[in-house]
């Protein structure tokens, strides 16, 4: 059960559309296509025809242990993982569309980044039940000195500029995306 109605409102604020309607101009969820081309093979992968999408993790790297990771050569397991990744990318697309909309309205990078940090924190906290919240508040206090999560200022310290704070939350892991077929590797130049 969501614990913070404001977080749901915040997420809807990305699209400005009623619940259930298409968001971000990407079409319906079924049509949503986040596919992209990555310029090189991610460092933790190796070309391997056993992989459903032609790559497998290098032994000893983050996505290699199986289980708990999916068996990247099993179409059913990879399809399930791909569904999770598509949901994640949908969230990223909504966030990027919200940022673009704010920029079109003339908002400064700092104003956008400050609001985005607040939305991200609320969205994250909304995943926990009332019973679980004290644990995450305590962790946030220990990690960030703020029970709601990282502050804009602390992220500015890590990323150097408001634009980079915005960008930091919308990055995607290319290795995971290649394994789930969302990203394809550009052909090597001869």
């Amino acid at each position: 059960m969501p614990i913070d109605d404001s977080a749901d409102k915040a997420r809807k604020g990305f699209s400005g559309t009623p619940p259930g309607d298409p968001v971000c101009g990407c079409g319906s969820a079924a049509d949503f296509d986040p596919s992209y081309v990555t310029p090189s093979v991610p460092k933790d992968l190796v070309a391997d025809e056993r992989g459903v999408y032609g790559y497998m993790p290098r032994p000893g790297t983050q996505f290699a242990a199986s289980p708990p990771w999916p068996d990247w050569s099993d179409p059913a397991q990879v399809a399930a993982a791909r569904t999770v990744r598509l949901d994640y990318h949908k969230g990223l697309a909504d966030e990027k569309a919200w940022v673009d909309g704010m920029r079109e309205q003339g908002a400064s990078d700092e104003a956008i980044a400050r609001e985005l940090v607040d939305i991200r924190n609320k969205t994250r906290l909304s995943k926990y039940t009332q019973e679980q919240l004290p644990m995450i508040h305590e962790r946030n206090e220990r990690e960030y000195g703020n029970k709601f999560g990282p502050s804009y200022e602390s992220l500015l310290d890590k990323y150097g500029s408001a634009d980079e704070v915005i960008r930091a939350g919308t990055r995607s892991n290319a290795g995971m995306d290649v394994l789930t077929g969302i990203a394809t590797v550009a052909p090597a130049k001869l």
Binding site: G60, Q62, Y88, K158
Partner: protein, 143 residues
């Protein structure tokens, strides 16, 4: 003579620290809020880590040892042992294993590794190492 630079503490309450480049040790610095800082420092499993700009380069430092982040000789890795809820970070021939940030966290999703960068300073270091354009922007911002 030791050389000290101003960094921001990246874990815990936000504060500016004086970082000793020779030793990797740091201590709170009494400086004006607008004092120019050159990167970040964090303590993970009682070890000191820092990422900062110095002499036109971006550096990663683990206790007393530092590497140019753009060096082709530097290899970093970051991986979880999910069953044991442990994380192992490796830089060159050094390695450290510590409790995973998501230990006991019911909302953690293995298939969203992007969370690591937000929650674990060493995953953030690896993300910067993996992204040369971001390195260039940080080098400029922290110069």
């Amino acid at each position: 003579m030791s050389r000290q630079i101003l960094l921001k503490r990246a874990r815990g309450p936000r504060e500016t620290v004086l970082f000793d480049v020779a030793t990797g040790r740091s201590a709170p610095a009494a400086v004006p809020p607008d004092a120019r800082m050159h990167g970040t420092q964090a303590t993970v499993a009682e070890q000191s880590f820092a990422l900062y700009a110095d002499n036109g380069e971006l550096w990663f430092q683990w206790n007393e040892r530092r590497w140019a982040l753009a060096s082709p000789d530097l290899h970093l890795s970051y991986a979880h042992d999910v069953a044991a809820a442990l994380t192992t970070f490796t830089a060159g021939d050094r390695s450290i294993t510590y409790p995973a940030w998501w230990r006991g966290d019911p909302a953690f999703d293995l298939l969203v590794p992007e969370q690591d960068e937000q929650e674990d300073y060493l995953a953030y270091v690896v993300a910067v190492w993996s992204d040369p354009p971001l390195q260039a922007r940080l080098r400029d911002a922290w110069a």
